[in-house]
Symmetry: C2
Subunit: 241 residues, 2 copies
DNA sequence: CGGTATCCCCCGCGATACTG
DNA sequence: CAGTATCGCGGGGGATACCG
């Protein structure tokens, strides 16, 4: 006769946990916080979540007053955080900071998801640092990823970045070949890109000026500046950018 | 082939959520933060959680480096938050503040757990405001609670507070008769004790001086000063005590 | 007190397919 | 693009009993 979903407690921590600490929900909130608005955009941030479950969670979040559904142009729908939802932002961010400090040793090989990495990279490219007047195509080859997720193309054109898993057919201006794990380490700020290049884990092929631009255009993970506390490193703690 | 327990993401939010957003875990952390140290003490804070599951969660938290198990005197065990665990405190507190602001309308009748209420009250009594040199017995009768959890006795003696569900047999110095829901409202700071008394939801029987002392001795919920944002009340927002 | 051990139910959620 | 529909299983966790 115990509660199936709830905790049966009036405590605000319990009532909040019933909503926010549900499976997948913190990740959906993270995506909304990072600016994802459309269903399939959200899906790319949680590739292992089934669309049925994402749909269900979004409805639950809407019912809880955290998410607002708005009609976009055409048949599209937009999901936005409500005022209550925006107030969860510092909590999700703090959870991420805590994770960056204390969960490093729990990373398993399963966690190195190339889709998530590329999606993260895509949305963190500062297009203003890349050529504007012409199309730029960057191919990224991730060694160690499973075959279907090994080759990616970033197509930068008119201030937009497109991410493809299939060769779009354009001429490639820059090619980056990287070990998946090393690329994640770089993205997480645990190794500098320069060090990874020196160690032979990353290799750029193409115009060096474009390679330099790309390196500058790539902002790292929002948690890249948070120092892990698990190792015995000097560990100067950083805040969120 | 999806992850059974994990999310398959290197993102620190995901790795943290794998631990912290697990079912019951936020409530166990809340109990540890509030100072519970022993297994059965923790259980009283999460009465609906099975002991097997609490044991399992504590082991998981220990493995995650959040909880440290220490041998107490005799055959007792003590659970303490590690440094990593202490850093979760602001997150759990923020979750509770958010819950106090935004989940009021989600309270169901199932959530009015008299055991939790009495356990909360017990640990928030300021004994220095009650008689010191003699035993004081306060009976609390909760109308609307199920029969087995309707009558409670607080025995204050030598600076210790004992909570009993069975009549300890001592002479009762003060009797408080209250509607369960009203008592929770008071505890949550949503209604003043004076207003509840005036509305006839609370009634003290016994020495008025002792009643006054008891009222002063009872600190409210840590979230009692957080104003709900759901109603259209003026809502001056407060911080945590 | 401080947990284990065991059984078993049930539903959350993963997988797959399909629609407007 | 934005979801629904359906099915089946796995294991999380509730219930209960027991031990050192």
């Amino acid at each position: 006769m115990a509660a199936h979903k709830g905790y049966g407690q009036f405590c605000p921590v319990a009532k909040a946990a019933e909503i926010v600490a549900e499976r997948w929900t913190p990740l959906v909130l993270r995506e909304l916080i990072l600016g994802s608005r459309h269903f399939n955009e959200l899906r790319r941030g949680v590739p292992l979540m089934s669309s049925a479950l994402l749909s269900q969670r979004l409805r639950e979040l809407e019912y809880a007053g955290i998410v607002e559904r708005r009609a976009g142009g055409g048949n599209s729908t937009e999901y936005h955080l409500s005022e209550a939802g925006l107030e969860l932002r510092p909590i999700i961010e703090a959870l991420g900071v805590w994770g960056a400090r204390w969960t490093r040793s729990r990373l398993t090989s399963e966690d190195y998801d190339p889709s998530l990495l590329m999606w993260d990279i895509r949305r963190n490219i500062d297009v203003t640092r890349l050529p504007r007047e012409r199309r730029t195509v960057i191919e990224i080859f991730l060694q160690g990823a499973e075959a279907a997720f090994r080759s990616w193309w970033l197509v930068v054109e008119e201030g937009e970045v497109d991410l493809c898993l299939k060769d779009p057919g354009y001429e490639v201006d820059l090619r980056l070949s990287a070990e998946l794990k090393a690329m994640v380490e770089v993205w997480m700020g645990r190794q500098s890109m320069e060090a990874a290049v020196r160690a032979g884990k990353l290799r750029f092929e193409g115009k060096q000026t474009l390679a330099a631009s790309f390196r500058k255009s790539l902002k790292l993970s929002p948690f890249a500046r948070v120092a892990s506390r698990e190792s015995l490193a000097p560990a100067a703690s950083g805040g969120l950018a």
